[in-house]
């Protein structure tokens, strides 16, 4: 998927509605050649890697031999999809620099926490997946609940994103929607079925470079045109004197003080704590990339390396939206208000791309978007294949098959996952309201799962019954709150504790409450039930696991050192853009 459904529900939802207006960009031969070369390259990599993908460890975990840099860039790229880029550029046009919270407080602390605190347990336990860890820690029932929800939602989200991307290609380039869906998804199916996680990770690293080099020209040329940051701020204030678009925290003192309709507690506790930590530390789609690292130090360093690049992503995503506010000679409007000759917020990134990039550069920018979509989908199907094969098929259908049988199952599962995604895309084409439900469904599981995994790693008294009932209660309460607001939108004031709260605030507070309910139920049930013997918790829980010392390493080779620098840089950015 383009992969952060919990982080980007608003803009993704907006993008999916994009159907009005004519094409924005027309491509020339050199642009089409650049796109075609990309397809040849990813298929070639798939063919090349097939010969190295023989065992289950190779196919599902890329042989567990990724360096910290490869795992880190792949970890970041699995999240950095095309809809993510376009959606958040649109959000920054609409909300200003508030959108950076999804890249900074909504990502950096969680990524550092994953690297320093949680990664040792994922890695030392030698689990192949997050549901696999839950099985080791809590037992089969918790694993089954987590695996079924993850597998189901992953392929559905993949289909939704496939449809959304095809729609974007139609709007931006005028491409046939069926052509986009089939060509891109079959390409993904071929190279992932051949090379497994190896292929997915290789192409995610490629995508990382393409996205940066394809999108970086927009902020560079935009800042030159605007006269630097101060010129940009002055132009925005001149064009939109009624709003504050360039301060990240100053307007978060009250729900009514900012266009998002959110309070800083929602950003810090809902987004920064529950949603962000839930997504970055327990969503197997991203965690799988780090589990594939070659050793524990590489596994710890991977998310820390990624945090530096994540911090910089607003330069190519948020800044183009702000440049749109400052420089475009017309005003973009909400999707629902688009009239003839008008453009919506969602088109700000393609508009800026077309503003600065001529032939060749345009092809590079479009390739970056396609690559983002394809690698996001590859991430989905490779994670789906792993969870289906190892967490559902092996324990519940066929326990003692050969390794080659499971690899074969993984390959077929990859193709099946893509076909289900295509089916979902066509279903969404007919019934667009499905998108809202599926996106909401995905978010139901993220926040409670974080509570379950966190308690499992840090509290040895947590019991199998506590883990299962806590996860179930958290998920059920999240669904209940969502249904309540769906049935009666005025109830949003209950969930967010303010009558001024808007949709974005609902996601934050619903996540926070469902996490709290999960934690409370897990603690209460655990205290009433019998804990697992301490010897069974070795390698799974803090206090029962001997963590390898890093004292022999020079300071600059220790993950904690680089995590500290990342944290300081993060804080400095908050102060600069306060």
């Amino acid at each position: 998927m383009v992969t952060s459904p919990p982080l980007a529900p608003g803009p993704l939802g907006l993008l999916l509605a994009t159907e009005a207006g004519g094409e924005i960009i027309s491509l020339r031969t050199v642009d089409l050649a650049i796109i075609a070369i990309y397809f040849v390259m990813v298929l070639g990599i798939g063919f090349y890697l097939k010969r190295y993908t023989k065992s289950g460890e190779d196919f599902f975990l890329a042989g567990r031999e990724m360096t910290a840099w490869v795992a880190g860039l792949s970890f970041l790229s699995a999240n950095l999809g095309a809809l993510e880029l376009m959606g958040w550029a649109a959000a920054s046009y609409q909300y200003g620099i508030l959108a950076t919270h999804w890249y900074w407080v909504g990502a950096i602390p969680a990524m550092l926490f994953l690297g320093i605190v949680m990664m040792p347990f994922y890695y030392i336990s030698k689990t192949h997946s997050v549901p696999g860890y839950l099985q080791l820690r809590y037992g089969e029932s918790t694993r089954a609940l987590s695996a079924v929800s993850f597998a189901f939602m992953t392929v559905l989200m993949s289909g939704i994103n496939m449809y959304a991307m095809a729609l974007v290609m139609k709007v931006v380039l005028g491409w046939n929607i069926h052509f986009s869906i089939w060509v891109s998804s079959l390409t993904v199916a071929i190279y992932v079925a051949m090379g497994g996680l190896f292929s997915a990770i290789f192409n995610e690293v490629l995508q990382f470079f393409l996205i940066w080099l394809g999108a970086l020209l927009i902020p560079i040329l935009g800042l030159i045109e605007a006269g630097g940051w101060s010129g940009l701020v002055a132009r925005i204030q001149q064009n939109f004197p009624q709003g504050d678009y360039t301060h990240a925290w100053r307007t978060l003192g009250g729900f009514a003080d900012n266009p998002m309709g959110i309070h800083w507690t929602g950003i810090v506790l809902g987004l920064g704590w529950v949603i962000s930590f839930g997504y970055w530390t327990t969503d197997f789609l991203v965690v799988q990339r780090v589990i594939a690292a070659k050793d524990l130090r590489a596994a710890k360093m991977a998310p820390i390396i990624a945090s530096y690049f994540k911090m910089a992503v607003p330069f190519i995503v948020i800044l183009p939206g702000l440049l749109g506010l400052a420089l475009l000679p017309f005003t973009l409007v909400p999707e629902s208000a688009v009239g003839p000759g008008q453009h919506s917020y969602n088109e700000v990134l393609p508009l800026m791309l077309a503003r600065y990039c001529g032939p060749g550069l345009l092809g590079l920018g479009i390739t970056a978007l396609i690559a983002g979509f394809m690698s996001g989908m590859a991430g989905n199907v490779s994670a789906f294949a792993t969870v289906w094969t190892y967490d559902l098929y092996r324990p519940f259908v066929r326990k003692n098959a050969t390794d080659s049988h499971y690899v074969s199952m993984g390959r077929w599962c990859t193709i099946l996952g893509v076909l289900v995604s295509i089916g979902t895309a066509y279903l969404v084409m007919q019934f667009k309201s499905i998108m809202d439900y599926v996106q909401a469904l995905f978010s139901f599981f993220v926040a409670p799962l974080f509570g379950t995994v966190l308690l499992g790693m840090l509290w040895k008294r947590a019991t199998p019954a506590g883990g299962f009932w806590g996860l179930l209660a958290g998920t059920a309460s999240s669904i209940g709150m969502w249904a309540l607001v769906k049935a009666d939108p005025t109830k949003l004031a209950w969930i967010a504790l303010s009558p001024h709260a808007k949709d974005m605030a609902e996601n934050m507070y619903r996540a926070l409450w469902s996490w709290i309910i999960c934690v409370v139920v897990t603690v209460v049930v655990s205290l009433l039930t019998r804990p697992k013997p301490v010897e069974e918790l070795n390698g799974l829980v803090y206090g029962c696991t001997e963590l390898p010392s890093e004292g022999h390493l020079p300071l600059w080779k220790r993950p904690i050192f680089w995590a500290g620098i990342s944290a300081v840089a993060f804080l400095i950015l908050q102060v600069i853009f306060w």
Binding site: I37, Y48, K294, Y356, G358
Partner: protein, 70 residues
């Protein structure tokens, strides 16, 4: 990466792709001297220096990570 499998490093593939793209974009930029681009700030010739940048990055990666017989 690839210590056990002796796989060509992903950085080599990155280098090849960027090198090809750099050549194509630079060539387009040179062609634009006869047909100037109509984009904003097109007078700065972004295709020329961006193509050159891609060639440099791609070339460095290809050279450094090219598979060699030991």
């Amino acid at each position: 990466m690839g210590e056990e499998h002796h796989i060509i490093p992903v950085w080599f593939f990155v280098g090849v792709l960027l090198l090809i793209y750099g050549v194509l974009i630079l060539a387009t930029g040179i062609y634009e001297f006869s047909e100037p681009p109509t984009t904003v700030l097109g007078n700065l010739r972004p295709a020329i220096w961006w193509g050159a940048l891609l060639i440099i990055i791609g070339g460095v990666y290809v050279y450094h990570f090219m598979p060699r017989k030991s």
